[in-house]
């Protein structure tokens, strides 16, 4: 047991240490960085990226990639807005439809990759553009509004965004979702096969396991997470504008990579992904507290991603050396 902690834990420890270091840095260098409102902002700006990142971690561990998550989340939010404003569905039904929509796209991604044998990069790039276009087509490129706190359905915002006292509710759901996905990935067969496929797909197939089912399921989980993320995006912003939200998927994938999940598959953890998500939102709010504009955030996120990958490559090299000697 100790051994397995030692094997998989080092990167997470490093990422966690980086999180602390970055936090302390901004606590000293930023204005009011440790204040309650900034802390709440850090938590609030981690939700929807957090959902996407947790979901896409499953796909990345199988050795695949899902580029569609950002566009699917936006499209799902637009579909929800359309159903709420134009079709007049009650808000609870709209929320279920949003999750169902994301899951459906995830399922299609899975089919494209497993049955039609498309490379995941191409399949999900295609579905990203399909979702992007679909969002505009369905809404007629018009902005969709979700109920704000003041409207009759305002409970939606209080339950999924902020309580009246200002507590960021999304974080609670993110943690629940984290625990849920953590159990799936670490305690069930689904997770075991997802790791196994990423490690050596052919070996899994030769062990008599239906690789397509489990690989497809990883995409379904990723799509489900994108659908779930759309609820929190809608609750946070309430105004959904078609053709926005570009690059959210890349933020999510960056968080996964910072958390130590290998893009070549077989290796990774959801705890790492959560740390990655918080590193990114601390970075974002920290730079704001230093009065630096948004492009700096992008710039430094890039640096952190490169650093995380470099550490991983270096550690793998070292681990191989040790193996050869013993």
């Amino acid at each position: 047991m100790l051994k397995s902690i030692r094997n998989s834990g080092t990167h997470k420890m490093l990422a966690f240490a980086a999180l602390i270091v970055i936090y302390i840095f901004f606590a000293i260098a930023g204005n009011n960085f440790t204040s309650v409102s900034t802390t709440l902002n850090i938590l609030a700006s981690s939700y929807y990226v957090g959902f996407l990142a947790l979901g896409v971690t499953f796909v990345i561990i199988t050795g695949g990639i899902d580029l569609s998550i950002g566009a699917v989340m936006m499209c799902s939010a637009l579909v929800g807005g359309q159903l709420y404003r134009n079709v007049g569905l009650p808000i609870w039904a709209v929320l279920i439809a949003m999750i169902a929509f994301g899951t459906l796209i995830g399922w299609v991604n899975g089919l494209l990759v497993t049955k039609l044998k498309l490379p995941p990069f191409i399949a999900t790039l295609g579905m990203m553009m399909v979702s992007l276009g679909l969002g505009s087509i369905i809404t007629g490129t018009s902005t969709k509004n979700f109920p704000t706190i003041l409207e009759p359905d305002g409970w939606f915002s209080r339950v999924f965004f902020r309580t009246e006292s200002g507590f960021p509710m999304g974080v609670v759901y993110l943690i629940i979702f984290f625990i849920f996905t953590f159990i799936i990935l670490n305690k069930t067969k689904i997770g075991r096969y997802i790791y196994a496929i990423g490690s050596n797909e052919e070996a899994v197939r030769l062990s008599g396991i239906k690789v397509n089912v489990w690989k497809g399921l990883a995409f379904v989980i990723s799509g489900f997470a994108a659908g779930l993320g759309s609820i929190f995006y809608a609750a946070t912003y309430t105004v959904i504008i078609p053709n926005t939200g570009n690059g959210i998927e890349l933020q999510a994938i960056a968080a996964v990579v910072i958390g130590g999940t290998s893009l070549s598959g077989g290796k990774g953890s959801l705890t790492g992904t959560m740390i990655g998500v918080f590193i990114m939102s601390i970075l974002k709010n920290g730079l704001i507290s230093m009065n630096l504009p948004a492009p700096f955030q992008t710039f430094f996120t890039g640096i952190v991603v490169l650093g995380a990958v470099l550490i991983d490559v270096y550690r793998n090299k070292k681990a191989n050396k040790v193996k050869k000697l013993s």
């Binding site: 047991m1 051994k3 397995s4 094997n7 305690k187 069930t188 067969k189 689904i190 997770g191 075991r192 096969y193 790791y195 196994a196 990423g198 490690s199 050596n200 052919e202 070996a203 899994v204 197939r205 030769l206 062990s207 008599g208 396991i209 239906k210 077989g266 290796k267 050396k321 193996k323 050869k324």
Partner: protein
């Protein structure tokens, strides 16, 4: 005679360009070890992959315990009680030993039970006398330990039939003894086993019957206790006689040294020195993992050396990258030609001129005409069977693909050619041709190194043989010392 467990008849299997199994048949009795032998490419592994549902045959009948079966997937074969230890390791390096062994059988429900599979694995290890931690990640284990995990996995299915596809290639003597003990134990339990191996002494020792395949055809079945090893080899090789290499005679003075390697070391190679003469064929012998390929890659500059010097024609040279090696006239023909040697989706002509492309460019434009002309010349010269030089390499047979690589290096005018497993996966006829080409090259003054895991190939071709074991150079055998026993002795010396 015990009852028949399995019968395969009239099995036909085609791959693009290859008729892999021709009306092949095989049978297996309860509590029997049935050896399956044949040269590489004879169809042993293909036949077993048909039996385990990995390949689906074009036609043929398989009866298991007098019931007709038709496996469409590995899963179905597994459920019917057939398990296999694959020749190439099929493990998930990121998972633990226990997780690997019980993949697909973790628990009845959705949730995992690590303790239960760890306990079961420990029990299995005890039974098989394997001293490993079930929670160790497989990627951290040595190749021979990984092989033991594969064997443990196959046995753990409580199978009626277990197929061992060259299980001993990476095992030490002690581990082989242990495996044979396990096999005898399984025999007494009535398990039928198929044993694929190139090692004749093992076949005599462990098997009850031996079946020979050649070129995808069934040749015959003999009683292992009675049949002579020479007869088996004769059945394997058949009428085809390979051209013998005209060896450099000993009484004449040896031709000059063209390549001298001194104290070459890296993480896989331990202080190796040797010389290569002009027009000589030097064999590199050793078991898998002995460091032969690694040594070749060091000479070629593909990996980083820790110490060592290379002299070409007596002059010290500095080979830091494959680019340097090619410039100095060293060519390396990789063991994995599809991965490192060829651009499969490109034409024969484009593959041949690849390293020399600069010479066929005028004013920045590639001259297709010149390329076609020179490629045609080489296609004729070494007899590459292709409808045209425009044919895509992926449509050629393995033997002809190998010839394309040879043409590529000839055009580059390399004086030293390193062939790494030159005939792996090539059928018998094409093999003979590759040997002819190599002999012709040596005669014309090229110096050649052949790395091969097939001893008969080294015995047939080499003027001298350098034997390695676990990264160390254990012997250099002169022409009169080259024989199977001596090579094996030095290859297993620690």
């Amino acid at each position: 005679m015990s009852e028949l467990l399995l019968n395969m008849e009239g099995v036909e299997k085609y791959f693009p360009g290859v008729h892999a199994l021709k009306k092949c048949c095989f049978d297996l009795r309860k509590g029997e070890v049935h050896a399956l032998v044949g040269e590489n490419g004879a169809g042993k592994s293909t036949l077993m992959k048909v039996l385990t549902g990995i390949f689906i045959p074009e036609s043929g009948q398989i009866t298991l315990e007098s019931k007709c079966v038709n496996f469409k997937s590995p899963r179905q074969a597994q459920l019917a009680g057939i398990s296999i230890v694959h020749q190439e390791l099929n493990l998930m390096n990121h998972l633990t030993a226990a997780q690997n062994i019980f993949i697909g059988r973790e628990s009845d429900g959705l949730f995992l039970n690590e303790k239960s599979i760890n306990d079961k694995t420990l029990e299995l290890f005890k039974k098989l006398n394997i001293k490993l931690d079930p929670e160790e990640k497989v990627g951290n284990l040595s190749v021979s330990h990984q092989q033991m995990i594969e064997i443990a996995k196959a046995i753990s299915y409580d199978a009626k039939i277990i197929i061992f596809d060259e299980p001993t290639a990476t095992l030490t003597d002690v581990e082989i003894e242990e495996l044979f003990k396990i096999m005898n134990e399984l025999k007494s339990q009535g398990v039928g086993m198929v044993y694929i191996s190139h090692r004749m002494d093992e076949i005599k020792k462990i098997s009850d019957r031996v079946t020979v395949l050649r070129d995808g055809e069934y040749i015959g079945t003999e009683d292992s206790a009675k049949v002579k090893i020479d007869d088996i080899i004769h059945m394997m090789v058949g009428r085809i006689t390979y051209e013998e290499h005209k060896k450099i005679s000993d009484n004449k003075e040896k031709p000059p040294v063209v390549l001298k390697v001194e104290n070459m070391s890296s993480k896989d190679v331990n202080n190796v020195s040797f010389e290569l003469h002009k027009g000589e064929i030097l064999g590199f012998a050793g078991l898998i993992g002995a460091g032969r390929t690694e040594l070749a890659r060091l000479i070629f500059g593909a990996d980083k050396k820790t110490t060592g010097e290379i002299y070409l024609d007596g002059k010290k040279v500095n080979v830091k990258s494959p680019h340097d090696a090619v410039r100095l006239g060293i060519g390396y023909l990789s063991e994995d030609r599809k991965r490192y040697g060829l651009s499969l989706g490109m034409s024969v002509a484009n593959n041949i001129v690849m390293p020399n492309l600069d010479e066929y460019i005028t004013a920045g434009i590639i001259s297709e005409k010149k390329i076609k002309k020179i490629a045609s010349e080489y296609v004729d010269k070494i007899n590459i069977k292709t409808p045209s030089v425009g044919q895509l390499v992926k449509n050629l047979s393995g033997g002809n693909q190998q010839k394309v690589i040879i043409a590529k290096w000839l055009l580059k005018n390399s004086d030293i050619l390193i062939f790494d497993e030159p005939t792996r996966g090539i059928d018998v006829g094409a093999k003979s041709e590759i040997y002819k080409i190599i002999n012709k090259l040596a005669k014309s003054g090229k110096s050649i190194i052949i790395i091969s895991s097939e001893l008969p190939e080294l015995l047939r071709m080499s003027d001298r043989v350098l034997v390695m074991c676990e990264g160390t150079h254990t012997a250099t055998l002169e022409l009169d010392q080259i024989n199977q026993n001596t090579i094996m002795k030095y290859a297993t010396q620690h």
